[in-house]
């Protein structure tokens, strides 16, 4: 791959630009509110883990993380298992309305959550799912299922059709072929799709906040509580923010070798 002159300098400047704001958040999270407000310090002079301790000991805080993880996982599982057969169908077969259906699905990936916030609130209240992880997980299917179909379709298409034909000639039934042969072949694609479902479900707030009140409130929504009559609790806010970055960072670390291919969505 051919690169450009000064690439190292460009890369370093850009990475610093990415990391500096994150560093500042981490820095703040280890400071006391007194230090934050009174002086400008580049690193915590009186480092404290009190902010983190508060989060880990207060149930209303840490349960926010559990709620978030719950609906993200449910959503990822639903999205992938629903999208797999559809991706196969779009990749292999022509059927009435296939192109329109594909476009319609894709257009939902682009639908603004703001449009759906209120109707979702009504819908999930009506079917008694309001304030459960299921409500958020199902709501996030709106954009994650189409995305998963789109990504997986690219990966299924990269599996030669002859493999299906051979399997059927060998007497495999369709479900058995699907689970024993196709799924292992596109395992990395499933990983990529799961990564993206995780990502978009994890980062979304508007719907997650609208569809929950107490029992399933995501961490991102809990964070807004740091505004109080006494002003902002910056240290606590920063600590909570840092803790929301960690799951994402862990996921990235595990998929680092697939990131490049993953971002091409299997279709370069």
């Amino acid at each position: 791959m051919q690169t450009i002159p000064g690439r190292r300098a460009i890369m370093i400047v850009f990475l610093v630009f990415l990391l500096l704001p994150i560093y500042w958040l981490v820095n703040m999270s280890f400071k006391t509110n007194g230090e934050i407000v009174s002086t400008m310090t580049l690193w915590p002079h009186q480092p404290t883990i009190a902010n983190y301790m508060r989060i880990f000991t207060d149930e209303s805080w840490y349960s926010g993380y559990i709620h978030s993880i719950k609906y993200v996982v449910i959503n990822t599982v639903i999205s992938i298992s629903f999208a797999l057969p559809a991706a196969y169908a779009f990749s292999r077969y022509r059927f009435v309305g296939d192109k329109h259906l594909f476009f319609w699905l894709l257009s939902n990936r682009m639908a603004p959550p703001a449009v759906f916030a209120l109707p979702f609130f009504n819908l999930y209240s009506a079917i008694d799912l309001f304030d459960t992880p299921w409500a958020v997980a199902l709501a996030h299917c709106l954009f994650n299922v189409p995305l998963a179909v789109w990504i997986l379709e690219g990966f299924v298409s990269s599996v030669p059709k002859e493999i299906d034909e051979t399997a059927f000639l060998d007497g495999y039934s369709f479900p058995r072929f699907f689970i024993k042969i196709l799924v292992p072949l596109i395992a990395s694609g499933i990983g990529v799709a799961a990564f993206f479902c995780f990502m978009f479900s994890w980062v979304e707030l508007l719907l997650a906040r609208t569809l929950t009140s107490v029992n399933a409130k995501p961490i991102a929504a809990v964070m807004t509580r740091t505004v109080s009559a006494a002003g902002m609790d910056w240290g606590l806010l920063s600590a909570a923010g840092v803790l929301t970055i960690i799951p994402g960072a862990l996921v990235i670390w595990f998929v680092r070798n697939y990131i490049a291919r993953g971002f091409a969505l299997g279709r370069v």
């Binding site: 890369m11 958040l25 629903f82 057969p85 077969y93 939902n108 109707p119 991102a220 910056w234 929301t244």
Partner: protein
């Protein structure tokens, strides 16, 4: 790949169709229902026909003026961030290290902002940009720049744009990097043999080969910036004044803030329609480019 005609494929697609229809069509029907009615509270609804739409599309009314103002603001925002993020993303992708642990390190750091919840992105920039406690705001003010994103419109815009560049340029860069990785070495070798300059390699090989991923990047970035809500809401709350109130922020204000369901529903439908049309244009361009692409790889 030749596809066989098989109507039974609908059975495989049905689950996806049902779940997305449940999530998309049902709520949209409620929206349509609201959009033609008026309410005086207490769940009393009155038929209002296309009244809300008329008001929405007439810039002389309050609703219309707010809609158009936020629409232009949003389009301007999308244009600016596309103009920055696409070229910057290409440059960053071209600056990736060649191999070894550095590649993995760069990829992980690049992907990091993408996995941060959107309101935390807002929080990060709030904390980073405040003149009193933020490194950026503090430094700028001490360098003599009177920077305050809470009170100054231009500063607020600059902050939101820089924040979006920070948040999303990586997506463009990673897509472009994936596109660049897929170019066979033979192309670069042939260009070397043909005596091509670096610029010629870029325009004759790299850019054409990145066309598809750039389209995807452009589509995703346009759409996501067009429906941006959380990040600017956390940082500026739409202000100062209404200077950073984008369509989604306006919509949530009307729907959840004022509970003006009819107006919100009409706005939602028009908003959705704009997105649908843009999406369709991109999709058509992309499938055409895709047909090209498939024809080419099919032959090779």
């Amino acid at each position: 790949m030749d596809k066989t005609v098989n109507q039974k494929a609908w059975l495989l697609v049905a689950p996806v169709f049902l779940i997305v229809a449940f999530s998309a069509v049902l709520p949209l029907m409620t929206v349509v229902n609201y959009s033609v009615q008026d309410t005086f509270g207490n769940n009393q609804f009155f038929w209002n026909g296309i009244g809300w739409f008329k008001e929405l599309l007439d810039p002389s009314t309050d609703l219309g003026s707010r809609f158009f103002a936020s629409l232009w603001r949003n389009l301007f925002f999308s244009a600016v961030i596309l103009a920055i993020e696409i070229p910057l993303g290409i440059v960053v992708a071209l600056s990736m290290p060649r191999e070894g642990w550095r590649v993995a390190a760069c990829l992980v750091i690049l992907a990091l902002p993408l996995l941060i919840p959107w309101n935390v992105v807002g929080t990060i920039w709030q904390v980073f940009g405040r003149p009193d406690i933020g490194l950026l705001g503090y430094t700028l003010n001490h360098l003599g720049v009177n920077y305050n994103y809470v009170s100054n419109e231009i500063d607020a815009w600059a902050t939101i744009i820089v924040m979006d560049v920070w948040h999303w340029t990586s997506l463009v860069a990673l897509l472009c990097y994936a596109g660049l990785k897929s170019i066979p070495d033979a192309y670069y070798q042939a260009a070397q043999i043909d005596g091509a300059s670096r610029w010629a390699v870029f325009t004759a090989i790299q850019l054409p080969k990145m066309k598809r991923v750039l389209l995807i990047a452009g589509l995703l970035r346009f759409m996501d910036s067009f429906m941006i809500y959380t990040e600017p809401f956390v940082v500026t709350g739409g202000g100062p004044g209404n200077s950073t109130t984008f369509i989604s922020i306006e919509l949530v204000k009307i729907a959840l803030g004022q509970f003006d369901l009819g107006k919100a529903a009409a706005l939602s439908l028009v908003y959705n329609l704009i997105i649908l049309i843009t999406c369709w244009i991109f999709y058509t361009v992309m499938t055409n480019a895709g047909a090209d692409h498939k024809a080419r790889t099919g032959e090779a």
